[in-house]
Every structure is written in C-alpha cells, then in structure tokens.
C-alpha cells in the first residue's frame, strides 16, 4: 500500500478477476495482510502482539456468541444459567473457561502490545493516530470486560458492578442521578444486568470497527521497527506474506500453548472464588477486587484516602484512575525526543524499566487488601506513575544524548558491509543469515 515497490494484486483465475472488478475485497486483504504489504525486515517478536490481539478478539466473539445461546440475562436465573453451562451444556465448561481465560489472554497480549509501544515510542509521528485509536480500543476493552464479568451474577459480579458504577457518583452534581441512570435503579438488579448483557454483546463489534481504523491508520506510514529508523528503500522490507504470516503463525502457536494450559489445567487460576457465590445485595465480600487486569488502576483509585484541597478524596481517586489511561493520549507530545527506539536511548530505557516495575507494584497492591503497607506503597507508586509521564519523560527527551542510529534498516541487519546489497533493484529476498 504505502511503498512504490509493493507487490500488485494480479489475480490469475477468471473468477478472482471477475470478483476483483465488482468488489476488490481480495485485493484489499492482499494489500493489508498479504504479499502486497511491505514490512520492515527486522521486526522482532514484540511485533507479534497486534496479530495476537486480533486473534484474541475473534476468539472472544466466537466463544461469546455460543455462550449467549445458553446464558440467561435475568437476575433471578443468570447465576444458575452459568452453572447450567458448566454442568449440562455439551462442552459448556470448556466454552466458558475458554471465554473467561480468553479475556485474560487478551489483556496479557494487549498490555505487551502497549508496552512495546512505550519502549519503541511507536506513538511518535507519523503514527500518532494509530496510537490514539489504540488507547480507544483499550478503553472499550476495559468496558467490555467489566460488563462481561458482571454477567455470571456472582458476588464479585454484583459488587464489582456496584463499586464501578459508584465511581460515577463521585462526579459533582450529576453523579448520583448518573449512577441511577446507568444502573436503571438504586442498586444493580435486573435492569442493570440486562443492559450490561446487551452492551457486552455489542461492544466487541465496535472494537472490531476501531481495529479496522487502527490498521488502516497503520498502513499509511507502514509498521515501525526495532531501530525506529524509517523504511528508505526496497531492501529494508519484505512482503507481509509469507514472511510475517509465518512468524505470526509461530507466535500464535506459543500463545495457544499458554492459553490451553490455562483453560485445561488452571481454569480458575486468574478468577476469584467468591464469584461462585450467588450475588447477595446485603453482604459485601470481605475483600472485593476486580479482575487482575484492572489491578494497577484499582490501586491508583484506592491510593487517595484524604481530601486534596477542595477536591474530595473520592473524586480525586476517580479522576486519578481515569487520568492514568487518559495520559496515554498525550504521549506523542510529551516525549519530544527525535529518536524512537529505546535501544538508542540509554536514559529513557532505564526509566522505561522503572515504569514497568512501577506498574507491576501497582498491580500487586491493587489485588491486595486495602490496608497498610499496601495503601502507602500504592500512593508512592501512583505518584511515580504520573511523574513518569508528565515530568520524567519530557525532561529525559530534552537532556538525553541518544546513541548513533544506523543509516538504514538494511544496514542495521547486515552491518556496514561494502557487500551489503543496498541497490534498489534487490528483490525482497530472505534476510541474509549473518
């Protein structure tokens, strides 16, 4: 699509030619994920996670649609209908575990994908729009997963729904009516469960739409790469198919091994046992926690325990939690270094690893009870989190001296060899093995 040397789609079969004239869909696919999409030849395994995220979405849609054939979104019977899926429906146990663990795998993959973006500064020009759409996808995923977790109507489902919609009640003036509007009542009940099911069914398809925009935006500049040096010539790229379809296929195999290990050997490892207790509006579980993938943000929410100036602690926590994600929208403009890749930014790299540790610490605290020392640790880690994006990153970008960049991707792969074939006529052959 993006480079003049991209292969052109030339269907040989008359039927394919006929289709190409009427609706060039195969051409579109060929140019998007086929031999017509030239990709930097030096991508490492961190570039597998976009395709894996797409796979995870398909997995969730397929398992979700079949679960919806057996699930009943009514507060009176929802819990029992999930138990019916587990015990009576043919393969129901497998489909449900596949869906629940599929959500966890989806988040593992997407977090890796996002941190790949942090390390290689994939958000920088000309890829800002790809990044912004990615953050939108992440927000939609969080909403989808939250509403999905409410559906089994266990104790964690119920109290999760109550606490998360309670976040909105922190907004001044409109907060409490807004919460009632979201729930369709004063506490989670049938109205809330039904609308959550409706939206849980809808949002994945909205995500699919935004993913199409995300990939569309990607195909304008083309993929970045571990050096962060832009593609200059034909020898810098190889066609997506067969090179990266093969590499992604290998990655998919590893993904499926981890996924199957979870589904078949530890299906409840990442879940919470209290969600096997039916929802009880009169008793809150002693230790309520969201699903693991929300823990870092939950820790930030709980870190605010006293009022800040005129802002009540409750509102402060909510604002901080949402800001923790919204700050990603500004990343392309907070990191002003002209160099993308963390490989060539020694100081930036150290702070990148510090951020990884900080988020892991937040995650640990978010899953722990709301007591000392976790509250204090969350407070320090939350502060560092915002410091990283709003202060450290802009300063590091301006004071750091990056290491010299290779002239081109080809040079980075083959070395500064006189024999390195840099002529534009070079066919995109297999990368030479040094």
């Amino acid at each position: 699509m993006s480079f003049p040397w991209a292969n052109e789609y030339k269907p040989s079969h008359p039927l394919m030619q006929w289709i190409d004239e009427k609706l060039p869909l195969p051409r579109f696919v060929y140019n998007a994920v086929g031999a017509g999409y030239p990709v930097p030849r030096n991508l490492n395994y961190m570039w597998n996670f976009g395709v894996l995220a797409g796979f995870a979405l398909v997995l969730q849609i397929v398992t979700g649609v079949v679960l919806a054939m057996h699930y009943a979104a009514n507060a009176g019977v929802a819990f029992d209908s999930v138990e019916h899926i587990m015990r009576d429906v043919n393969w129901g146990w497998m489909l449900r575990y596949a869906h629940a663990n599929g959500a966890s795998m989806f988040f593992i993959v997407v977090y890796t994908h996002i941190f790949r973006g942090f390390f290689y500064s994939s958000y920088k020009a000309p890829r800002e729009m790809i990044w912004l759409l990615g953050v939108v996808i992440f927000l939609l995923m969080m909403a989808t997963a939250f509403m999905g977790y409410v559906l089994p109507w266990g104790q964690m489902s119920f109290w999760g729904a109550k606490v998360i919609t309670g976040l909105f009640s922190a907004i001044p003036l409109v907060g409490p009516p807004l919460q009632e509007w979201l729930l369709g009542g004063f506490a989670p009940d049938n109205a809330a469960l039904n609308r959550f099911f409706s939206l849980h069914f809808l949002l994945p398809f909205v995500i699919l739409g935004v993913i199409i925009l995300h990939v569309w935006a990607l195909h304008i500049p083309g993929s970045s790469n571990p050096t962060g040096v832009e593609v200059k010539q034909e020898s810098d790229t190889v066609p997506f198919h067969p090179y990266y379809t093969a590499k992604d296929g290998f990655g998919l195999g590893i993904f499926l091994m981890v996924y199957c290990a979870l589904v078949f050997f530890a299906p409840n490892l990442l879940g919470h046992p209290d969600n096997y207790i039916p929802a009880n509006p009169l008793s809150t579980p002693a230790h309520i926690v969201p699903e693991w993938y929300f823990w870092p943000f939950y820790a930030i929410l709980r870190a605010f325990t006293s009022d800040f100036l005129i802002i009540p602690a409750k509102l402060m926590g909510v604002l901080a939690m949402f800001s923790a994600i919204l700050v990603w929208f500004f990343l392309p403009w907070l990191d002003t270094s002209p160099v993308r890749s963390g490989h060539y930014r020694p100081l930036f790299r150290k702070f990148f690893y510090a951020l990884v540790i900080d988020v892991l610490v937040l995650g640990y605290c978010g899953g722990a009870p709301a007591e000392e020392p976790y509250v204090m640790i969350s407070q320090i880690a939350s502060m560092y989190y915002f410091l990283h994006f709003l202060v450290i990153l802009p300063i590091v970008s301006s004071i750091e001296t990056p290491q010299p960049l290779p002239f081109s991707i080809t040079e980075a792969v083959l070395g500064k060899d006189e024999h390195a074939t840099l002529a534009p006529a070079t066919p995109p052959s297999a990368p030479a093995v040094a």
Partner: protein, 176 residues
C-alpha cells in the same frame, strides 16, 4: 426575498435541515430516558419493621428499595461518644440529634450503603468489626464510621444516609 442575498432555496434548506435536526434530537430523548429507573423500580415502596427484639448494642439489617438498611439500638455509652465529638471537625458535620428522631436518639437508622462506592459496611451483624470509632467499617477501601454513622476516616465523603422513616408505634418503624 430576492435581492437581499438570501434565496428562497436557502431558507427552505435551513428550515428543512433544522426540522430534521430537532426531530433527530427528539428521537434521542426516549432512547436515553429508557435507561433511567423504570416505574416499578421507582414505586416508592415502604417497609414496616418490628424493632422490639433489638436490644441496646444490637443492630439488624433490613431491606428497602433492594438496599440494606441498618437499624441500630445505641447504648448510652455509644450516644455519649457520638455527642462528645466536636461537630465542626467532621467531614460531614451533623449531630446525632439531627440524624435521629427526637426522643428516640437511641434508634440510629441509616442506609447500609457506604457513601464511597456503595459496599455494605461491617458492624451491624453479630461479631462484625465496627472499626476504630465503634460504628461501622467498610472493608472495600477502608472507610470508618462512628457511633452516629458519621464518616471519620477513609475515602467516603458523606455520613451514612438516613432514609426517610417514622415510628408507627414504639416497636414498629416505617421506612420510606
């Protein structure tokens, strides 16, 4: 209108698009409003509760609008400790008198819904922890309420809400 620059067509165009816009907005209203609590949920149900069996120092959980209500019979010591607090120093300043019915200050009737994010605080059930101020303790994010169910510590912004209630007799209270 000819001559002043606005043509008949322009007027018709603007009028038609505005009308369609208003129509579109009008159609949005029911789509948004349908999500608000429905008539059966709103139906102001009230519930009558027999409180004769609650001894001083004990509490029960009742249900009103599908939410828990704490009915607590305060001991004289609990009343004394609630009154001993300097009201001005509270996050949500209220006296125990303002939160109870005159002459029945021992009956503390509040929603069992933490004003932080809505968990049910501990302290009403037998043997549950009451927190360091002897009232209620919310395990979710650590809000602590005193013996008048006023917020004293933690992230909750308000005292536990007092639902509308009146005593039908000395032993029966009507909530709602």
């Amino acid at each position: 209108m000819a001559g002043d620059g606005v043509r008949r067509r322009d007027f018709i165009n603007i009028a038609a698009v505005s009308f369609a816009g208003v129509g579109g907005l009008a159609a949005l209203y029911p789509l948004i409003s349908q999500m608000a609590p429905s008539a059966d949920v709103l139906a102001e149900s009230s519930t009558e509760i027999d409180i004769s069996a609650i001894a001083p120092g004990q509490a029960i959980k009742a249900v009103w609008r599908k939410q828990p209500v704490f009915i607590r019979n305060l001991t004289p010591e609990e009343i004394k400790s609630a009154d001993a607090v300097d009201v001005a120093s509270l996050r949500d300043p209220q006296t125990l008198e303002q939160r109870t019915t005159a002459g029945k200050t021992n009956w503390l009737i509040t929603m069992g819904v933490c004003t932080h994010l809505g968990c049910v605080p501990l302290g009403a059930g037998e043997g549950e922890v009451k927190g360091e101020f002897g009232g209620y303790f919310c395990p979710c994010h650590g809000s602590v309420y005193d013996t008048a169910a006023r917020i004293r510590k933690g992230p909750a912004p308000k005292n536990l809400e007092v639902p509308p209630h009146e005593f039908s007799s000395d032993t029966v209270v009507k909530i709602g």
